[in-house]
Amino acid sequence: MSLPNQADQGITFDTFMEGVWRQNPVFVMMLGMCPTLAVTVSAVNALSMGVATLFVLVSSSLLISLIRNLVPKEVRIATFIVIIATFVTLTDYLIQAVSLTLYEALGAFIQLIVVNCIILGRAEAHASKNPPLKAVINALGMGTGFTIGLFALGATREIFGAGKLFGMTLFGDQFQPWVVMVLPPGGFFVLAAWLLLFSLLRSKSATEGGHAHD
């Protein structure tokens, strides 16, 4: 890390970057796998799911952080779940109001954000122990990391599986789409491929004596 390690309470660049890179929920922590694989058949779906999760993550972190000193320890999980479910319901209605086509493409996975382990994990591990601003920045980082991961998967699957990106055709007529990519098995394969790529990069930088960079 290039930044000096400040005191625990302070807000550092790492508060944000933790979720984007070091603890990326998709590629490193392997959290919230269900939406990650289910809705990433196209880049648009993946982005919208990422943004919806980001919204729930940030707003629930803010509220939980605000009331963190009021909630007795015994009922904290119940309280967190109620708060998260509220914001998910909110998101559900907002997406319906914005675009029903998108709503039907994402299907039940909007409501399933409730059981996404990232959100409850952040609430428990970070938001319930930190002041609002820090909690929000951390949640923003996590959400951004999740969105990036989803987008990487969605774009890959759309490019190979349909020959398109954001609905625009990329290749000529002779391109035969790899239909398997947009089918369920493709989700597993693409995520595996991304993980392989990362572990390849990691092993490369390790053999080159990785402390020169980073």
Binding site: K73, V75, V82, I83, F87, Y93, A97, V179
Partner: protein, 225 residues
């Protein structure tokens, strides 16, 4: 931490008070969102429905929702549930307010999951003049030919669904036949290589028409303004 060092459980009262506080904040948020977006959602649903109905009944300009039951037909308010044993259908009118046709939903098990289609019924020729897919999870590139295959869609330019003389069932049940063997106006020429999905469409339409039309046709005059 300026609390006494021994472990103490908070009183039940405090726990309940916290939960009530949180629940009321959440309640206000949910109800606010529900009320705030209700208008936009209803508008979106109406636009989607209209778009779907206009696609299967070219020339239509307005849609009204009805339910057909054994006792007759009745208009439905938006979002209202269909009475037991009833069938939901949509009456489409052109710009001058003349009845253009009827649209209804059909569904049957396809290759992967239920294939749901919306079909347009023309009252004058007593035939189906268009279909559109509502939802399906068929294999891309194979099952989804039912929306793209021009030869298959040609089946639905005038698919015969006339009722028999005592108006109790279709004169000829809608049947899906092997590709290239269509002989009659009530048969559907299946897509070669996507027979299961084609058959699901045909079976769904047959089931739905057999149920809806005998209840609807005797009362069709009530739909004309």
């Amino acid at each position: 931490m300026n609390q006494p060092s021994q472990i103490q459980t908070p009183s039940g009262g405090k726990m309940i008070a916290t939960m009530v506080l949180v629940a009321s904040i959440c309640g206000v948020l949910i109800v606010g969102a529900f009320e705030g977006t209700a208008g936009a959602i209803a508008e979106n649903k109406r636009i989607m429905l209209e778009r779907a109905v206009f696609k299967v009944l070219p020339g239509a300009a307005g849609v009204r929702e009805y339910a057909a039951t054994a006792a007759g037909i009745q208009p439905l308010a938006a979002g209202e549930a269909v009475p037991a044993r009833g069938v939901r259908f949509y009456a489409a009118y052109d710009a001058a307010g003349v009845l253009k046709g009827i649209a209804a939903e059909a569904g049957a098990k396809g290759y992967a999951d239920t294939v749901r289609v919306l079909y347009g019924y023309d009252t004058k020729c007593q035939c189906i003049i268009g279909i559109g897919v509502v939802s399906m999870r068929e294999t891309p590139g194979i099952g989804d030919k039912i929306i793209t295959d021009a030869a298959f869609l040609k089946n639905f330019e005038a698919l015969d669904v006339r009722l028999n003389s005592d108006l109790s069932a279709l004169t000829n049940a809608v049947r899906v036949v092997k590709h290239g063997t269509k002989m009659n106006a009530w048969e559907i020429d299946a897509i070669a290589g996507a027979t299961v999905t084609s058959k699901a469409v045909g079976r769904g339409i047959n089931d739905s028409a057999q149920k809806l039309l005998p209840m609807l046709v005797p009362h069709i005059a009530e739909l004309k303004p």
